[in-house]
């Protein structure tokens, strides 16, 4: 028997929550002013697309009702006592993160090189090979600067990853005040039109997955 932990909130009780992973009912375990959203399973649930979306739906339902700190899929604890102990030990940290993400959502922005804009340099010499390896990084950094100048001022925090794969120079997550989401999206759409070298895809609002770690202050 194991408990799958979806999220933590400090504003219980939540209204009705959708069924969780494998259709299991979701309920809350409260302690120290915090509540964990959990469901019970015989064994740790298998991670697949369906269970991932079920997990997401529970967190988003909670997010619609209160500030929630989303857990990474697959976070399990043995039983109710273990959840209570965990909440007790981490209460200060969890409360701090909840305060940071309250009334905020995560918006993801991904840039891919516009079609035909991926350069495949011809290399003959060793130096040309090295330069060809450096060039994508330079271009990705320049694009990251451009995106940052446009979107960072509209967000409370941002996290960037460069060249997750060769076709995707910039993958970014922004922590955006919920009330400013429309403004942010409008600016992202404008930026997408301005950028000739890359196409932007913007998705959200998501739970603040990228901003719940202790290194995201």
């Amino acid at each position: 028997m194991t408990l799958l932990v979806y999220a933590v909130t400090d504003r219980p009780p939540l209204g009705e929550l959708p069924p969780g992973v494998e259709g299991a009912p979701v309920w809350t375990i409260s302690h120290a002013g915090l509540s964990a959203l959990v469901s019970r399973h015989e064994t740790a649930p298998v991670i697949d697309e369906r269970s991932g979306w079920a997990y997401e739906q529970v967190i988003e339902s909670g997010m619609a009702q209160a500030a929630v700190l989303p857990m990474r899929f697959g976070s399990t604890l043995a039983d109710r006592d273990a959840v209570v102990q965990w909440l007790d030990e981490r209460a200060r940290e969890l409360s701090g993160v909840l305060e940071r993400i309250r009334d905020r959502v995560e918006v993801s922005v991904r840039a891919v090189w516009a079609q035909g804009d991926e350069t495949a340099a011809q290399v003959g010499t060793g130096r040309e090979y090295m330069e060809a390896r450096l060039e994508p990084e330079r271009r990705a950094r320049a694009l990251r600067e451009r995106i940052g100048q446009a979107l960072d001022p509209l967000a409370d925090a941002s996290r960037y990853r460069l060249l997750v794969r060769p076709s995707a120079p910039v993958t970014a997550a922004f922590l955006v005040p919920r009330r400013a989401t429309e403004t942010f999206v409008a600016r992202a759409a404008e930026l997408d039109r301005e950028l000739a070298e890359a196409d932007l895809t913007c998705t959200g609002p998501w739970p603040a997955y990228s901003f719940v770690g202790s290194d995201n202050a």
């Binding site: 991670i47 697959g74 010499t125 060793g126 130096r127 090979y129 390896r133 196409d199 895809t201 998705t203």
Partner: protein, 112 residues
């Protein structure tokens, strides 16, 4: 997912992501007698490819920082070029694709 799209066209990107997700979820080292050689080759080549890319990236950063002479840049470039070619040959020999030499590390992202 479509109701989450705020800007842009997610079609090709989402399709690529789903393919990667399927691949990450189903990826296992084959342990059956027929597949064990390929499975081991996949594991070993993944580690070699990781080291190759790390060394290459470090060398590129040293070049960018101006810490290498022209001669060193040329020699390193030739070496990495030869290594990349050799890796392509080894992948072809074991019937492996680029995406086979990658591992999903969950919270840490992809290995390569």
């Amino acid at each position: 997912m479509s109701d989450k799209l705020l800007v842009g066209d997610a079609g090709p990107v989402a399709a690529e992501d789903l393919t990667r997700l399927e691949s990450a979820l189903s990826r296992r080292i084959a342990a059956d007698p027929e597949g064990v050689e390929k499975g081991l080759a996949q594991l070993v080549l993944t580690i070699i490819e990781l080291l190759r890319q790390l060394m290459e990236r470090q060398a590129v950063h040293r070049m960018e920082a101006g810490n290498l002479t022209d001669e060193q840049i040329e020699r390193l470039g030739q070496t990495f070029m030869a290594l990349a070619e050799r890796m392509q040959e080894l992948k072809a020999a074991f019937g492996l694709r680029d995406e086979d030499l990658n591992l999903n590390l969950g919270p840490l992202g992809d290995l390569l």
